[in-house]
């Protein structure tokens, strides 16, 4: 059984890497039929696949189209597996508001981060791209989110983040803010008062889980 389960996990992982939606769907259904834990299928199958895709992208073996097709394959599996996660595992880890700041339309990075949040059971409010600065503040108040994630790919649009961070912190000092995108550095993040900085999608997820965990500890 253990090897059978490993085989299915490998198929899920490989299906994501191969951007082969049909293979992922078949493997996800097989996982359910063989009583593989849905949580394990996602976190030991789909997610490691996506991590590998991130590596291939970084090494320029994969490009934007491959990355997106892999993400679609991962979502195809996620849609099948997610309803079968046990209530405790499926319980939402937190509420996230995210988007690409005004003036910037580069949303691929944001979409990948969003996918990681989706996979891990966050409730995600995705504002999309080219989002007016005030919209972030508004949405945070409306959803009472634990976390706001801001993304920018250009130095010119990145500066808008500073204003958003100030406004949100003013209205709701408990809300955590994470920023990311090509021009952003850890140094900028701390100077502008952000709680987190994510170099890439994988780190964004890890940081987010830690941040929300610390938040829950305090309250």
């Amino acid at each position: 059984m253990a090897t059978k389960e490993q085989e299915i996990l490998d198929k899920l992982k490989q299906g994501v890497i191969d951007y082969d939606e049909d293979a992922v769907i078949a493997a996800a259904n097989e996982a359910l039929a063989q009583n593989v834990d849905a949580h394990a299928a996602i976190f030991d199958g789909l997610v490691p696949g996506m991590v590998e895709v991130g590596r291939l992208y970084e090494e320029q073996e994969y490009f934007v189209p491959e990355m997106l097709m892999c993400a679609d394959a991962m979502y195809a599996g996620l849609n099948i597996l997610k309803p079968h996660m046990s209530v405790k595992e499926g319980a939402k880890k937190g509420v996230v508001v995210m988007g690409v700041v005004q003036g910037d339309v580069h949303d691929i990075g944001k979409n990948i981060v969003r996918m990681m949040f989706d996979a891990s059971g966050f409730e995600v409010h995705d504002l999309g791209r080219d989002v007016p600065l005030d919209k972030f503040v508004e949405e945070q108040l409306k959803t009472d989110s634990d976390l706001v994630c801001l993304s920018a790919m250009m130095t010119t649009t990145m500066v808008g983040m500073k204003e958003i961070i100030e406004k949100i912190k003013e209205k709701n000092p408990k809300c955590k803010i994470m920023i990311g995108g090509a021009p952003v550095t850890g140094d900028i993040a701390s100077r502008w008062g952000a709680d987190g900085y994510a170099r890439d999608a994988n780190n964004a997820l890890k940081d987010a889980i830690n941040m929300i965990a610390s938040l829950k500890d305090i309250s």
């Binding site: 191969d18 049909d22 490009f63 189209p65 997106l68 097709m69 993400a71 679609d72």
Partner: protein, 232 residues
């Protein structure tokens, strides 16, 4: 060194792939080089495999030309999948651009699809030109086809001379038949701006009128009227 480069750029013979595509059900198939003007996100995918399936004959008295055939588009997608599988086995990159009506799906990759029109693939593969109507016109079937494209980095040889000019000549049937008068009658060339050929606002208005009067957001008079590929 020079010779090495020459070998690297050696073109692949597409004969066996084309044969397979025909066996999978492809009716009109061609390969073209689309490296010129390829958007940055599609870099490297400079070979386009263009394929089409023909529409069934329609009753002449129909008020609209039915160009939406879900079963044909499904078949196109199945053929695309086979092509993609083959390219994967052969170790090439690929990107399927699905038939137009399938593009609206809630997928991340669907954002990439509008970057590459089927018309570019088909004209570069020499399968047809852009008619005065703005439709892709095949010399054998006119505009009565549904199209799909697979982009790849496999350096297959082009299967035909690209069309860089329209071949409508003196024919103005679509210009006369258009109920909205939206077709200006200008012959297409590769860099022609479509807005000088078609008044898309009047065209859209006509569709909207049809929705109210016939109950369908469709028209297709220009598809029906085109004499190209018709036995007269």
């Amino acid at each position: 060194m020079r010779q090495q480069r020459h070998i690297d750029q050696a073109k692949l013979d597409p004969a066996s792939l084309l044969e397979k595509i025909k066996a999978w059900g492809g009716e009109v198939v061609g390969i073209g080089n689309v490296s010129v003007g390829l958007p940055p996100d599609l870099e490297g995918l400079s070979t386009a495999i263009s394929l089409a399936l023909t529409h069934p004959e329609q009753q002449n008295e129909n008020e609209i030309y039915e160009y939406r055939y879900p079963e044909i588009e499904q078949k196109l997608e199945d053929i695309q999948k086979n092509i993609a599988k083959q390219l994967r086995v052969d170790g090439w990159r690929f990107l399927e651009i699905p038939p137009d009506s399938s593009k609206q799906r809630d997928r991340l990759i669907s954002k990439i699809h509008p970057l590459f029109p089927h018309k570019t693939a088909a004209t570069c593969a020499g399968l047809g030109w852009i008619g005065k109507s703005g439709l892709l016109i095949s010399p054998c079937y006119g505009p009565r086809l549904s199209w799909a494209t697979v982009l790849t980095n496999a350096p297959y040889q082009a299967t035909g001379q690209p069309y860089i000019h329209g071949q409508c000549g003196r024919c103005n049937v679509c210009v006369r038949e258009c109920p909205a008068g939206a077709i200006s009658g200008i012959e297409w060339s590769r860099c022609t701006n479509y807005t000088t050929m078609i008044d898309i606002v009047s065209c859209a208005q006509q569709l909207e009128n049809n929705r109210i009067t016939i109950g369908e957001l469709a028209c297709g008079k220009c598809i029906k009227a085109c004499r190209c590929g018709r036995k007269i």
